[in-house]
């Protein structure tokens, strides 16, 4: 669709629910949408799909939503891309949003490109920055590009809606405010909830040390470990300070460690209190996945490693020398404290 086709207005957030609960990324995107809407002087709507929502959707008003649309149907108990696309498309065609934001989760990254293609509009994946161009009022979408070593800012000048996905934890959830809005339960035609695709079963994963996105500290290893066994040292330090274990993309591609540990835009975006990177040189796609950490400590033997440029403390040397020394010092500190 093109901007002259209809009167496109407002920002729509394609919210995410898991197990009938509103996922935190929905709050992150609602807050960001509010900032953008305040610049444009428009409304923020949030769409939630669920079998039967257990959280209170009107809570989203306090985080910036003016309107919350809740679509509930038994067919939405397990994610079905066919049905989700039908619902989102129907809501877009009714609401005509100028901007559509969605989480860059497996759901968002499946549904959004499908809808973008059907509507013949642009979509920018994994944005790390979103702002409104003061001159044109267009959404400026910033993402790492060309192998993740530069940042590209992209716009969608004439096609609508302007669509972008954003990784969880990219934007912080704003402080709740005392505000209210409209809660709507739209009625959609029955065929919206049918699809040739059958979602049979969702088998929940066993906890693999928990989600690294929820940890206060993350200790990550990269190709500088030189061998898969190097992750034992990373895990030893991580256990000692109760940190999650992270990894760079090349180590996951080499199968030294499993995908849930991957930090970066192609893995998970983390924002811990402390991020310690050992043997990671710092491709932008990795940096974009951890640069909002409060403190960054980097260990690398290459003094020119890009990760040093965003680190608070840069330790230049062999990680197989530095990490054991650091582990020893932490143990000594612990002993002194304990007695």
């Amino acid at each position: 669709m093109r901007k002259e086709d209809r009167n496109f207005q407002g920002i729509l957030v394609f919210g995410e629910t898991r197990s009938n609960k509103i996922h935190s990324v929905t709050y992150e995107l609602t807050g960001k949408a509010r900032n953008l809407a305040d610049v444009k002087g428009c409304e923020v709507s949030v769409l939630l799909l669920a079998e039967s929502l257990r959280d209170d959707p009107s809570d989203l008003f306090r985080f910036g939503a003016d309107k919350v649309l809740v679509v509930q149907d038994p067919s939405l108990s397990i994610f079905n891309q066919g049905i989700a696309v039908n619902v989102l498309k129907a809501i877009i065609e009714a609401e005509n949003p100028e901007i559509l934001l969605a989480p860059a989760t497996t759901i968002g990254r499946t549904v959004l490109p499908s809808v973008a293609a059907m509507l013949q509009t642009g979509l920018t994946a994994d944005c790390t920055g979103l702002e409104i161009d003061p001159d044109s009022g267009l959404l400026l979408q910033t993402r790492p590009a060309i192998g993740g070593n530069v940042m590209a800012t992209i716009k969608t000048p004439v096609h609508r809606p302007q669509m972008a996905t954003v990784r969880p934890k990219t934007f912080r959830i704003p402080a709740p405010r005392n505000r209210t809005g409209t809660l709507i339960y739209p009625t959609l035609p029955k065929e919206t909830f049918s699809s040739p695709i059958q979602s049979i079963h969702l088998q929940r994963a066993e906890g693999d040390g928990g989600n690294i996105q929820d940890r206060d500290c993350v200790v990550s290893g990269g190709k500088g470990l030189r061998r898969p066994e190097g992750f034992r040292l990373i895990k030893e330090l991580a256990e000692l300070i109760d940190a999650g274990v992270g990894a760079s993309r090349p180590t996951v591609e080499a199968k030294w460690i499993s995908y849930p540990h991957q930090v970066g835009l192609s893995g998970k975006v983390v924002a811990p209190k402390i991020y310690l990177a050992a043997g990671i040189s710092g491709a932008v796609q990795h940096l974009a996945g951890m640069q909002t950490a409060q403190k960054i400590i980097a260990i690398n033997k290459d003094p020119e490693a890009p990760i040093f440029r965003i680190a608070d403390v840069a330790l230049c040397g062999d990680l197989y020398d530095i990490l054991p020394r650091l582990i020893e010092r932490i143990r000594v500190e612990r002993c002194e404290r304990n007695g």
Binding site: A116, A205, D312
Partner: protein, 263 residues
């Protein structure tokens, strides 16, 4: 029945070889060799496996410059039966929508296909959008993040890796699946395959052959525009320690851990 399969591949720079220019902060691409996007090899491996089980034909297609022919020949060496290169000056500068349009039009003109496979994303652009967009333009059933598949005459049973765990789905044909590297171990090319690849004829299609118009493809047909490219700003004051200073650096780390009440 036989299966008509297609694999969407992309030639990408070998990311292990890419270095950064420390002064400019840009990528040094000179002398970096090109490879088939790693996840596309998993897609190809799966397609070849399905065609062996059911009988059928595997077509690989890629949009890119003439050098992308190498990637197609490699795909033939790995078991593909037919290769199509989509190359035209008019295709340059395409975003994911304009790329998907060319790929979809090719599938329409050279199909029909039962199953189309692609890597979940390419290591250079990393949008992961082209697969789903092609599926939508073709009206195919789509599954993404596929880490296991079992193809049958009417559809494919898939396991998809999602944040919460594993999603089991049934995807009726025709379908497009984007795959992860857990799916299989890509084979190495055989000697016979390499021989076949050298002799293989690569079908080359451009704007005219596909019956597309210039306004719909490449940069002109792309809904998105790049406004600017910049290297990320440095916002932190880095304390740098090396050699004999390292002990002091470790002291600083201990301080930070204490401040954060980690130890």
């Amino acid at each position: 029945m036989t299966m008509n399969l297609a694999v969407l591949i992309k030639q990408v720079p070998d990311s292990d070889e890419v270095k950064m220019d420390p002064e400019k902060g840009t990528m040094i691409r000179e002398g970096v060799s090109s490879i088939i996007n790693p996840l596309d090899l998993n897609a190809l491996e799966a397609a070849v496996g399905i065609s062996k089980a059911f009988g059928g034909r595997v077509t690989v297609l890629t949009m890119g410059p003439s050098q992308a022919e190498e990637a197609l020949r490699e795909a033939i060496a790995l078991g593909a039966d037919r290769a199509i290169l989509l190359s035209d000056r008019a295709f340059a500068g395409a975003d994911s929508w304009a790329t998907s349009l060319v790929l979809a039009e090719t599938l329409r003109k050279t199909g029909p296909y039962d199953i189309v496979l692609a890597g979940e994303k390419a290591t250079d652009g990393e949008t992961g959008q082209v697969g789903p967009e092609v599926a939508a333009l073709m009206g195919y059933n789509l599954a993404t993040y596929v880490s296991f598949l079992d193809a049958g005459p009417r559809g494919v049973s898939v396991k998809c890796t999602v944040e919460e765990g594993t999603l089991y789905q049934w995807i009726p044909l025709p379908c497009l699946l984007t795959v992860l590297n857990d799916l299989n171990e890509p084979s190495l090319p055989t000697l016979a395959g390499k021989k076949k690849a050298r002799r293989a004829e690569i079908l080359k299609l451009g704007l005219a052959e596909l019956g597309l118009t210039r306004e719909n493809v490449g940069l002109l047909g792309s809904p998105t525009r790049v406004v600017r490219i910049e290297t990320p700003k440095i916002t932190r004051q880095t304390e740098f320690f090396s050699a004999r200073d390292l002990e002091r650096g470790i002291d600083r780390v201990i301080d930070i851990l204490k401040e954060a009440a980690v130890i």
